[in-house]
Symmetry: C2
Subunit: 182 residues, 2 copies
DNA sequence: GTCTATAAAGGGATAGAC
DNA sequence: GTCTATCCCTTTATAGAC
């Protein structure tokens, strides 16, 4: 039989991008391997030819979801920090039009294995680094200040998504927008 | 047979306090009804005599867990806002020596039903109100400022718990402590 | 009200054919 | 590499005895 590595890679990519979307929006436990494979146009049995466990896929999905969210955010806002904050702490983000795994999966991560938690930690560090870079060299940001901004963005979005009152959530996002820009 | 309402209430309280502890630390999906009942010294079958569903218990557990966390925090710190922040954003809290459901369950809530989300929303509003009260009348806090403090506390703790590097988590908590006090 | 037993469904992981 | 079929375990919820 002729299965090229290219075909295998294509399947793998499809699985990961499906997982990125489903896991980020629904969390680890609410998504079955079957869901991911169906979404990727494959069946269950093929899964273990690409990954050793659901958890391993989850870690990959977090990386890809973070890249997708970053791309989406920059495309919407350009490279000015204030605009990026506006996009990140927007109602559209809260509604899931796009989805940053740092904010959508925050408390899910603590329940997972070390591989997943290390991945999350790495992505979070990248997020904080980006804040430094986007801030420009003008008014040298301390690590503390960058962390505070990151927490207001990620934490603010996570909390606003938990709340089931739109106007209250909007006020929360608004307060955070102001706080990050301060 | 003589089952008094008092005995029923005692059982109910045991179930709820067990649920408060287990759910808050492990999330909704990682705790089975059986776990809660065992922890309460009962068996599965008795559960549905007290609650209609796992989700209904979860909502009750969030209320009780919030009260317990508040009590613990105030006992540790007294009523000065700066001390309370110190306790809330402490390594002990991150390690689960006590557990605020707002921070431990943040992204879990979005996956649940409206009853649970309403409960979370209510507890969060109470948290923000407490910030106002504890701040004293001296320098009238705006709603925005109280929300920013709440997000730095709840979000900061939630994120610090996801991270699996102690020193990085400690720097995060530290940045938030400074941010809330500012 | 609590117990044991069980129904009924879901999901992670594996086996073997193609 | 992907498919169908299946093992096996967990879990929510219910039934009926005490």
């Amino acid at each position: 039989m002729g299965w090229t590595t290219e075909q295998k890679n294509t399947s793998r990519e499809k699985i990961i991008s499906s997982a990125a979307e489903l896991f980020t929006k629904q969390g680890f436990d609410n998504v079955a391997i079957n869901d991911v494979m169906k979404h990727a146009g494959l069946t269950r049995g093929a899964f273990y030819n690409h990954f050793n466990s659901k958890s391993e896929l989850y870690a990959e999905a977090i990386l890809t979801a973070a890249k997708l969210a970053k791309r989406h955010t920059l495309e919407q806002s350009g490279f000015k920090l204030a605009d990026i904050i506006e996009t990140y702490l927007s109602d559209k983000h809260r509604q899931g039009e796009f989805s940053c795994p740092l904010a959508f999966l925050t408390t899910d991560i603590h329940q997972r294995d070390d591989n997943v938690r290390s991945t999350y930690t790495r992505v979070l560090k990248g997020f904080i680094d980006n804040i430094h870079e986007l801030n420009g060299d003008e008014k040298a940001l301390s690590e503390k200040d960058a962390m505070k901004k990151a927490v207001l963005m990620i934490g603010g979005l996570a909390i606003a998504r938990a709340v089931n009152e739109d106007d209250f959530a909007e006020r929360l996002l608004n307060a955070c927008r102001e706080g990050v820009n301060a």
